[in-house]
């Protein structure tokens, strides 16, 4: 816990310094201390809220209804089978589009027992964050991470099994390592990464 606290305080401090530097560089003519800022936690919170809302609407109002009416199903190989992407795939693909847009912000779904290894945690921070969220899934894990000389703010939000479709797929997929998910279990997290200049 101490380590987290140190990490938090370090991150917060770093963020503060960066924010001040960013504001100063953005508005060089104005008074430094008075420039309004926005914390990366809040930015990540906004993005997460939007992501959640979009995926919920896609899941409940599009996929469920189309499947109930028998119009089209959501399947994993949706491209070959001319079907709908699964809600998880929806989020992954939208993440790719966001990345391709060049805005710098990235997000992806990660889990400790993923069907595909590419969705496993890439770093210790991610793995530990997920482990922490498994235990106390109430608040996101945030922190500053670095790749070489590059530094990023990363927030990991817990992702729960909100519909039976999620656990059915993960419990039955041949490549799935864990097959005892239940509704409302934390299946993984949404990792949002924002570069810190």
């Amino acid at each position: 816990m101490d380590r987290f606290r140190i990490a938090y305080s370090t991150a917060g401090l770093t963020f503060l310094i960066l924010a001040v530097w960013w504001v100063a560089s953005a508005y060089p003519a104005k008074d430094d201390s008075k420039t309004p800022g926005i914390s990366p936690e809040r930015v990540a919170g906004f993005v997460h809220a939007v992501l959640q809302a979009h995926r919920t609407i896609y899941t409940t109002h599009i996929v469920n209804r189309l499947q109930e009416k028998g119009v089209v199903m959501a399947v994993e190989h949706w491209e070959q089978e001319n079907a709908l992407p699964l809600p998880a795939q929806f989020l992954q693909h939208s993440g790719r589009l966001v990345a391709e847009s060049g805005q710098g912000i990235r997000y992806r779904l990660i889990g400790l027992s993923p069907i595909y290894q590419r969705n496993a945690p890439a770093t210790d921070f991610e793995r530990k964050g997920l482990e922490f969220l498994n235990r106390s899934p109430d608040a996101p894990i945030t922190g500053i991470v670095s790749s070489g000389r590059k530094q990023y703010f990363q927030a990991i939000y817990p992702d729960r099994a909100v519909s039976s479709a999620c656990i059915n797929c993960h419990n039955s997929h041949p490549l799935s390592p864990k097959r005892d998910f239940k509704i409302n279990d934390v299946m993984g997290g949404i990792a949002i990464t924002i570069p810190i200049e």
């Binding site: 190989h77 491209e79 070959q80 089978e81 001319n82 790719r96 990345a99 391709e100 060049g102 990235r106 992806r108 590419r118 890439a122 770093t123 991470v145 670095s146 790749s147 070489g148 000389r149 590059k150 990023y152 990363q154 990464t193 570069p195």
Partner: protein
């Protein structure tokens, strides 16, 4: 019996019965056979299509999964290299170094590139011997793999190049010195790096100049430790044939059946038959087999150069296709399962061959059996046909022997029965015909005999004036033999003058054409015909003899045409009957003479008788006068003598009145009514007419041709009789009625009438009902003779007790006469009866 027809049996038109039977049996058998075989063949080939297609599809799907896993394994193996922390760290370091905007970096890179391309040993060593390259080598040789996860030898051999680039595409590490230094412009690099996001990129098969082979490549991004962005690309070039060959080539079935792998352009990635890198021979089947879902199709060609229709199973590689050329939309790989159609359809062809063989055998059998069956049916039918022909000719003598035990046998029996009945019927008919012929001959003979017995010549002439028959009298008359009688020309037989010939010909023609019996005389009957007075010498005989009479030599013939109905279909003929009147006319003349003499005798006797009575009275009175002295008596006697004398004078006058005036035969136009009035006036002289009423009802001014004195005489005689019958009391009615061509003058009295027994004799000469000396009995005789001479006639109608009417008919003269006497009665009333009393 009719003539037997000896013509040969009629040639049967069209197909004969036997042919028809065979053909119909063949049709009945062959058509269903062929239809059945055809349907079996069609159905069989359909099912072979279906079964082959489904199994090809299954095989293609299975092969696709297998190849997908193969590629997937290779990707996983490569991604393990890409995720190696050492490589990540090294590439992060390179990235960070590139971030620093240091001057002279590019020249360094360019310098490096030049050195690499010129195979500068230091540079080559720097790239191929650095830690990353060493790491790659370790992975490549399998030193880094888990103990149970050795890289198969095949895969290692197939890997032609393995190298890593940095974020600019510059070569960072490589196993060999073959790879190019700058890769930033390659599609695979751009696709994999993907603006730093990074994605798996499987390149379609291409000819790699550096590796000198057809290859495909797998490129993976090397992500930073956060998986935030790509910091390099690991690129692997793999020989397609070497990599996929071991998986696809062993899958063989039959002689030609195999599995191949193609990309979305139809270029062969791996095939046991076709070389890698060539395109399918038929571009039109590429869209059919590169669909997103697995299936099978019946394509018009096989893609291997064959143009025969083929069954092709296909299936996409699901995971590999997702990443070929970066996305599913721009490329996909497919398995292609095919077997040569010759081999595939061989069972059907065998089936077809066998069906053809069996079909031919069946047709041959059908034809043979049909021939035998038809022969069995046709032979008795032909026998029957011949029998029917014999019956038709009346030649069948023995019965038909057919023992088939079916309807044909019954039919043969019927034929026999019919033949017997026909024979019987014909026998009866022959007898009847003989009988009838005899009858006809008898009739002809008797007709000939009758005609020969007729004493007048009879000729039968046809419309060509050819004499067909002459009877015996005719032959004798015209001096013909029996042989030469028929066939001659009519006018050769009858030697007549040309004018008469013409006349006869006309009559003959009118008979021929109209069939009307012409009047005996060629001329129309004269309106006014002179009655021949027996006392007047004939003057018109020459004229009459021209009519219907023929002078042939010394003989005079009367002739008559008659019509003879011709045979059916022939024109009618005309008969000519000639009657020899030579003797008859002689007799006639003798008769006339005798009649004349007889009449004179009767007349003389009558006159004598009439005159004798008064003459003897005069003679008696004369004798008495010789002795008589008494003058009174003498006077009385003298008066008696005078009376008798008068009487005699009257008799002579009567007689001479007839005979003498006939000499003057000068007829003229007279007025009938005037003559009647004058005659009445003459008759009534010296008669007591106080109790007599005369009624006149005249039609008008009627003109007739007559001698006025004689006509007057005739009327006087009739009126005298009438008045005498009425004893000068009663009514005398005179009337004239004009008809169309005649006028009728009626003199009617109211006397006692004439008894019936006297009516027939009333016109006989000297027949009288008057007392001795009162009438000569010549009055009506004379009157009739006169009237007849003028072309008229007298008729008496009498009702006993009611009176007598005498009707005198005379031919009417044309009214437009210019006679001066025509105006005589112009002032007379013609309509009202003129009653006068005198």
């Amino acid at each position: 019996m009719t003539k037997a027809t000896q013509q040969p049996s009629p040639v049967t038109r069209g197909w004969r019965l036997q042919t028809k039977l065979i053909v119909s049996m063949l049709l009945v058998g062959v058509v269903p056979l062929l239809v059945g075989l055809g349907m079996a063949f069609w159905q069989g080939s359909q099912e072979i299509h279906e079964v082959s297609g489904e199994s090809f599809k299954a095989l293609a799907t299975e092969a696709a999964r297998k190849l997908d896993l193969l590629v997937g394994e290779e990707i996983a193996r490569t991604s393990r290299i890409a995720a190696d922390p050492m490589i990540v760290r090294e590439l992060e370091r390179r990235r960070d170094r590139n971030l620093k905007p240091e001057s002279g970096r590019y020249p360094i890179k360019q310098d490096l590139q030049l050195k690499w391309e010129s195979k500068d040993p230091a540079t080559v060593k720097m790239i191929t011997e650095n830690p990353v390259a060493n790491l790659l080598r370790e992975y490549y040789t399998g030193a880094r793999s888990e103990p149970d996860e050795l890289i198969p030898q095949v895969v290692r051999g197939a890997t032609k190049m393995l190298f890593v680039t940095d974020t600019q595409g510059h070569l960072a590490a490589a196993l060999t010195d073959k790879p190019p230094f700058a890769n930033g412009e390659f599609l695979w690099w751009k696709g994999t790096f993907n603006k730093g996001i990074g994605q798996l990129y499987i390149e379609d098969v291409y000819f790699d100049d550096l590796a000198q082979t057809y290859a495909f490549s797998i490129s993976l991004p090397v992500m930073d430790s956060l998986r935030y962005e790509a910091i390099g690309v690991i690129h692997r070039v793999i020989d397609a044939k070497e990599f996929f060959g071991p998986s696809t080539h062993p899958i063989r079935f039959g002689k030609t059946g195999h599995v191949m792998l193609i990309d979305h352009r139809g270029i062969v990635v791996s095939c046991p038959i076709l070389p890698t890198g060539v395109r399918l021979s038929d571009a039109s089947i590429i869209p059919l087999v590169t669909q997103r879902e697995s299936g099978w199709t019946s394509a018009p060609s096989d893609g291997h150069g064959g143009r025969s229709s083929s069954i092709i199973g296909f299936s996409p590689l699901p995971e590999t296709s997702r990443n070929t050329n970066g996305a599913l939309e721009v490329g996909s790989w497919h398995t292609f399962v095919w077997q040569s159609s010759d081999e595939l359809f061989a069972p059907i062809k065998h089936l077809f061959t066998w069906m053809t063989v069996f079909g031919s055998i069946a047709v041959a059998l059908l034809a043979t059996l049909g021939y035998l069956a038809a022969k069995r049916i046709v032979t008795p039918v032909r026998q029957l046909q011949q029998a029917a022909q014999s019956i038709g000719r009346g030649e069948l003598r023995q019965s038909i022997e057919i023992k088939t035990g079916d309807e044909l046998e019954t039919l043969a029996e019927e034929f026999n029965r019919m033949n017997r009945q026909l024979e019987a019927a014909f026998t009866g008919l022959t007898d009847q015909v003989t009988l009838k012929t005899q009858e006809v001959q008898y009739l002809q003979r008797s007709t000939d005999q009758i005609l020969d017995a007729v004493p007048t010549p009879i000729l039968i002439v046809d419309d060509q004036e050819e004499v067909l028959y002459v009877n015996r009298t005719g032959r004798e008359a015209f001096a013909l033999t029996e042989e030469s009688s028929a066939g001659g020309r009519l006018f050769d037989m009858l030697p007549v003058e040309p004018s008469q010939q013409q006349h006869l010909r006309q009559e003959l023609w009118s008979h021929q054409t109209t069939g009307m019996a012409p009047s005996l005389a060629g001329e129309p009957p004269a309106a006014v015909e002179h009655i021949r007075d027996p006392l007047v010498p004939e003057t018109a005989t020459v004229h009459r003899s021209r009519q219907a009479e023929l002078q042939l030599g010394a003989h005079l013939y009367r002739y008559e045409w008659f019509r003879v109905t011709g045979r059916p279909g022939q024109s009618d003929r005309v008969g000519l009957v000639l009657r020899d009147t030579t003797d008859e006319s002689r007799m006639q003349e003798k008769l006339v003479q005798a009649e004349k003499s007889g009449s004179l005798g009767i007349l003389t006797a009558g006159i004598g008788h009439e005159l004798n009575n008064p003459l003897f009275g005069i003679m008696g009175l004369g004798e008495a006068l010789q002795d008589e002295c008494d003058p009174a008596r003498v006077k009385s006697y003298a008066q008696d003598i005078i009376h008798h004398g008068k009487r005699m004078a009257a008799i002579i006058r009567d007689f001479t009145g007839i005979a003498a005036r006939e000499i003057s035969d000068q007829r003229q136009t007279v007025h009938l009514e005037r003559e009647m009035d004058q005659a009445l006036a003459a008759v009534m002289v010296g008669l007591d007419t106080s109790q007599l009423t005369i009624e006149r009802t005249y039609a008008g001014d009627t003109l007739v041709m007559a001698l006025p004195d004689q006509l007057k005489q005739a009327f006087s005689n009739i009126m005298t009789n009438a008045l005498h019958a009425m004893k000068n009391q009663g009514t005398l009615r005179l009337s004239t009625t004009v008809g169309e061509k005649t006028v009728v003058a009626t003199i009617a009295d109211t006397g006692p009438g004439i008894p019936k027994n006297h009516l027939s004799k009333i016109f006989d000469p000297f027949f009288t009902t008057k007392g001795q000396g009162e009438g000569s009995g010549l009055g009506l005789t004379v009157a009739r003779r006169i009237i007849r001479k003028f072309g008229g006639d007298i008729r008496l109608e009498s009702v006993e007790g009611a009176g007598t009417s005498c009707m005198i008919t005379l031919p009417l003269m044309a009214p437009a006469s210019s006679s001066k006497e025509a105006s005589w009665t112009a002032s007379e009333s013609r309509t009202l009866p003129q009653v006068s009393r005198s």
